[in-house]
Subunit: 327 residues, 2 copies
């Protein structure tokens, strides 16, 4: 447990967060399609962090003999009512608690979970899913999603930069000079949750982490990595857009890329102060995601260091620290 866990579970007891998740048709229909492809009549399913139970309902409708819907939030009282109202009272068993702690009378065939927070990492729920998998899944069982990749893409987005980024402080401010705010903001920078659909990618982006529900140890959820990005056009760089792709089943991918329809996760923007890049530049990046230990929280802190190489020469460097901006 993290010390902010009461707030964390409370945040799911209200209705608004569920309206947001259920209103996200890209997310929910991808889960529906994957569950319909994977769950066969008679199977036993565990739903980790069931919320209002939508994934359990998909599983029950697909013919599951038993669904354990586990959640540690007060929403579960309503989930029981919803299960009854939809005729699943005998199939879906709602269990208060954390999936890694509870006892079940049998191993399960399928574990399904929508554990992804902003840039997947915020909420830190993957560790629960891994622990629940080790404890409750039969040896040849399946996990939805089976794997998840985290991506970073260098971008240009002048509008975003001047409305919501550091460039805002260089705008005319009613006749006053506000550029001192840039230094203030860099001391306390946040990732922003943005609609990046108008951003222009300056290169192909990189996979910065891969999580596999079967083989990734829970502790590698907080990671550090190094990678290189190739810049393939000239232009000012306004930072990186982060997104994740989740493999829900063999056929169903759920992607939050800025090139695809927007989800409620949108994209996570790691803003930089504007700098010019050229086609052929190489960005050598060190990136680290760690738990915010100051507040013992489910929010990550990100450290991003970069060098810009132009014809083997370092022409620019940057060092940023970002706090997670979940609301």
């Amino acid at each position: 447990m993290f010390s902010d866990d009461t707030d964390y579970f409370d945040s799911y007891s209200g209705a608004e967060v569920h309206r947001m998740m259920l209103g996200d048709r890209v997310r929910t229909e991808a889960y529906r399609d994957a569950i319909e492809a994977v769950v066969k009549p008679g199977m036993v399913v565990l739903d980790v962090g069931a919320g209002t139970g939508i994934l359990s309902f998909f599983a029950a409708r697909a013919g599951a003999a038993k669904v354990y819907a586990v959640d540690n939030s007060d929403i579960l009282d309503t989930t029981r009512e919803l299960a009854q109202a939809n005729g699943f009272g005998d199939i879906i068993e709602c269990i208060d608690g954390c999936a890694e702690d509870i006892q079940l009378p049998q191993k399960v065939d399928i574990i399904v979970s929508e554990w992804m927070g902003l840039y997947a990492l915020t909420e830190a729920m993957f560790e629960s899913v891994v622990a629940a998998t080790h404890k409750h899944l039969r040896l040849d069982g399946q996990v939805i999603p089976a794997a998840l990749s985290l991506h970073l893409v260098p971008i240009r987005d002048d509008k975003l930069y001047h409305e919501h980024g550091l460039g805002f402080w260089q705008n005319d401010m009613y006749g006053f000079d506000y550029s001192a705010m840039v230094g203030h903001e860099i001391c306390d920078l946040e990732t922003n949750t943005v609609d990046g659909s108008h951003a222009k990618a300056l290169g192909r982006g990189a996979v910065v982490a891969l999580f596999d529900a079967y083989t990734t140890p829970a502790e590698s959820y907080w990671f550090k990595t190094e990678f290189t990005l190739e810049v393939d056009c000239d232009g000012p760089c306004h930072g990186f857009l982060g997104h994740f792709d989740a493999r829900l089943s063999e056929e169903v991918m759920l992607s939050t890329s800025h090139e695809l329809p927007l989800t409620h996760w949108r994209q996570s923007w790691f803003p930089l102060q504007e700098r010019e890049l050229r086609c052929g530049d190489r960005l050598e990046i060190k990136f680290r995601a760690q738990r915010d230990q100051v507040v013992d929280s489910r929010k990550p802190v990100y450290f991003l260091e970069g060098q810009v190489l132009r014809a083997e020469e370092v022409v620019d460097e940057f060092h940023y620290c970002y706090h997670s901006s979940y609301a």
Copy 2:
């Protein structure tokens, strides 16, 4: 002090909230115009909750001899830099603390403050402004804003209701019945901060409270009131939009009505479960705003009770409690 005050002041130490306020041109230009109309060369000005100092800068540019910019947030270190960078280092004195606690060497001619939170009440800063006025303002001095009115308007907005209101749970939910969520949500209802510009008013609305910086006692900030609303067209009612109008100076009003350009305050929506109203109906409303004493917070809790009178007969009643949704 409220027990959540550390969080409250911390929320102003980052840059995002200031970008939001400064990016709100309706708000900031109204203050600019009022300050330019009221502040005369040689005057002494107190800016309560100065933030990045924009109101102090307007006052200094208008010719103030001295401006005390008071704030209890860490932003003030940057505000000092901004004052220097704009050539006001000698005129603007940045003082860490609460305006009602500090000592000043002289009475001031003008107190300026942008103290309004969502539906004005959230943030509970009016009490500080009143206390600072009693302590620091000369007898014939002026306060900006001098007065503020709170309004409630009954509305119809089908899109809002079915996307973000209780109607959402009556939509088709991937083939399942989610109507049990309505009961869940009514137990834990929030005001929503919405763009109400597409809402249709079902009547003229009412002034539910008036605050006057000179005469309103600080304790009447949390109030209860009764009023009647006249319905002037047939239609389903989806609740009430709340907004405030602030009289910044004799000539300058700052209004957050849904009929005027949107500000960062937007409108506060007090959703109801949909109910039919008819032209000629009278809504008799009891409305109460009180401090959230459970968490000893700067957030209000609102109690709204209503009766619908049709030809002198009560045809409908409602009772709601709303928590404030400030992010």
